[in-house]
């Protein structure tokens, strides 16, 4: 096997020291040292590979994620838990994220699990049917936050914002061959990024990954679906509870993302059931703030925050947002998603750039961020359902 090691960069803080290279398949690998971390985590981020959600295959990526995460022998989680580790998987609009984690001393088991995860899955009608039953149950247990996110994205971006959870009827038509084809398109070459977050010995981790992991090849160049924000709108849903506002932002480290994130954190802190929903992406995206416990208090809280504005509020919110992102980027279980998505989208340093922006954010910028959640600048959703 031919490898091209590249020393990407040496950083002193969040993000830690990085050792990275590109495999000849095109897959990109980073080993990040997070000193003092209690666990090691391998984050496999799989881009959409030109397979963004569409009505015709709505949810195929989610279904595939369920099937792949079990591993080819359907026992990957058990193997990892036997050494005190684990595995989680999530599907987002711009990437799927598989996280293998455990004690650093179990390096061999963790890397072997990654190698298994990258093997072609064994798919059958029976397995797909069984997993669809699970997804039917998952659909009924989705909470208001998750449903709100799905609806707001569609309000903002239409077909380009389809909920990655998927449509059960469409998923029901997926054949093993279709999913195999999807796997081949997604788990290939430049569509794959591995971010290994380890407490120490980065060189040993790099060697172990090189030795044991075989990266699927692929020369497919992903075409990226256009995502353009639509006019602002308001909607009501009886499927969920709460009140939500979504501010459109462009780029992971853009000024508007930093402003909106800090403002959303400030606003959520004033609410009893305050939540901020944001998935890292360098593409047009949404920062969502929600009041999950009432369908009346968000608008009031937003107005009060503006009317009673003090520069000290903005300064505190900026500090908080910076600290929040720092803690994400220092955490081996979370950092990989940020760096992985940024890398698969072509800008590996975007999370660090966002952190710098947040650190330098002025109080006035936080106020501008707050204004981004106004009724004339954001997508609004209220729910008075279950």
């Amino acid at each position: 096997m031919f490898w091209v090691p590249v020393l990407v960069a040496w950083l002193q803080e969040p993000g830690g020291a990085v050792y990275g290279w590109e495999d000849r398949s095109g897959a990109r690998i980073q080993v990040r040292t997070l000193e003092g971390a209690q666990v090691a985590a391998l984050h496999l981020v799989v881009g959409t590979g030109g397979w963004a959600e569409s009505r015709e295959r709505h949810g195929f990526r989610h279904l595939l994620e369920h099937l792949v995460a079990l591993g080819p022998e359907r026992d990957l989680d058990r193997k990892l838990e036997a050494v005190g580790g684990g595995l989680t998987a999530d599907t987002y609009r711009d990437a799927s994220h598989f996280r293998i984690w455990g004690p650093a001393k179990a390096m061999g088991t963790l890397v072997a699990a990654l190698a298994e995860l990258l093997r072609p899955p064994m798919l059958s009608e029976a397995l797909i049917r069984r997993e669809l039953e699970v997804l039917r149950e998952e659909e009924e247990l989705r909470d208001s936050e998750s449903l709100a996110g799905g609806l707001l994205w569609q309000m903002a971006f239409g077909e380009a914002g389809l909920d990655p959870f998927g449509d059960l009827e469409t998923m029901g038509g997926a054949s093993p061959e279709q999913l195999q084809g999807l796997w081949s398109a997604l788990f290939a070459g430049r569509n794959l990024v591995l971010v290994a977050c380890v407490p120490d010995r980065p060189q040993e981790w790099a060697d172990e990954i090189r030795r044991r992991v075989s990266w699927p090849r692929g020369d497919r160049r992903a075409s990226v679906q256009r995502r353009e924000a639509r006019p602002f709108a308001w909607a009501r849903s009886d499927r969920l509870v709460g009140e939500y506002r979504a501010a459109p932002v462009r780029g992971l480290d853009s000024e508007e993302t930093a402003e909106a994130l800090a403002a959303a954190l400030l606003l959520s802190s004033k609410l009893d059931g305050g939540r901020v929903l944001y998935t890292p992406s360098d593409r047009p995206s949404l920062v969502i703030v929600g009041e999950t416990r009432s369908s009346r208090r968000l608008a009031e809280g937003w107005q009060k925050a503006l009317d009673g504005w003090r520069p000290a509020d903005g300064a505190a919110a900026a500090q908080w947002a910076a600290r929040w992102l720092e803690s994400q980027l220092e955490d081996p279980l979370r950092a990989g998603l940020w760096y992985g998505v940024a890398t698969v989208q072509g800008r590996a340093s975007a999370p660090d750039d966002l952190l710098q922006r947040l650190r330098g954010l002025s109080s006035g910028a936080v106020r501008r961020g707050l204004e981004r959640f106004g009724a004339d600048k954001a997508y609004l959703l209220t729910g008075e359902g279950r």
Binding site: G36, A37, Q38, V39, L70, R74, D75, D77, R78, E81, A82, V83, G84, G85, G86, L87, T88, R99, W101, G102, P103, R129, R130, E131, L132, E133, V134, L135, R136, E137, E138, E139, E140, L141, D143, S144, V241, G242, S269, D272, G273, T292, R293, S294, S295, R296, A316, Q319, W320, R323, W324, E326, S327, L333, R334, R386
Partner: protein, 397 residues
Amino acid sequence: MIAAWTLFVLSTGLRLVELAAPEQKAVCVAAAVRLPELSPKGVAAARALVEALREGSAAYSRQRWLGEGALVGVLPKVELTDDALLIRLATAPGRHKVVASFLADLLRSPALSTEAVGGAIQRAREDHRSLWERAVDPRVAQWESLTRRDVARLAAWLLRPDRVGVAISGPFQPGEGRRALEVRLDDWKTSARPAEPPGLLGAGRSELPVGSSRFFRWTAPWTDLSDRGMGRVWLVASALGAGKGASLFRTWRVEDGFSYRQDCRLEGTQAGVALRVLLGKAHGLESVPDGWRRLLAAVGAWTEADRLRALAVMGRQGPVPYRDGALALTGFDPTLLEPVDQAALAAYWALKTGRPLSVEAWLAEARATPLEEMKALALDLLSKAQSEDSTSSSNSG
């Protein structure tokens, strides 16, 4: 190695535990307040009290709390469990005196003005919890006749040093954390014990929610809170429900495609703790009894690999990423909690048992439990478990 908490009992009877943890990135304080069994009206009063406490104390507003938490990216929390009210705060290293002042002031001088309590009742009453949250805590609350005075009476009755345990942990010298709390709580003398708040205590009622999914709950009580008792029941809970290799996930989700979400929790109760299995299910409800039988069969087939997997899960370090924040006191991998949640568990354990939390001792006992004993205990607990579902209601007592 899991660090050991040290217990101190103040002259007022208040129990205080401290953990000097040099590697910790935040100072954490927590309080546990012992709850009696609450009537439906008492549940409503307790939920309103939680809302009121979230607003802070007379001297330290909610915004000041949030500002402290923001220094380390941790939001303050006030929550109810079946047998406790829990308060959790965190701040930056070096600020243990500040956060100790917050906690002491909240316990001693909560902001319970007529207006504040009125607002708290309204917020608590309007609160929309998710279906799963309602299944985790299905106690019925009766709001109709609840008054501000009821909430104030409950607060006066609960917030007394002999009903409270507090904990502090962080990167300070041994004794520093204890002193920070002690000087602010040692002279916490309350007047003669107030009368029991009328109508708030007594038998409660639980109703599992009905929505797009139905919920099923099996509860097995456990009263042996010794290290050996806790080690054994934690081992069983872990083999059943901790992780995706556990029997619940493996049997119901991977092998049967029967459910998406299922949980095994250890939860504090008036009598001790309870092992609870919780299932959410939307389709094929008639198959639940069969599912339960398949689970029992899977437990009966446990091998040494299942025991070792459970022990490995129990012994792992660092917060687990898929906890969903549904801590209770339970979920119950105590080694996996965030430091602020560990502090809450330590405060609770000191209050409940008069002993400092010793997860190491529980682990040692769990490791000494052979497979056959683990299996027999699990089958015994599950076969005796009381079942409830969304279509029935029962007394929680």
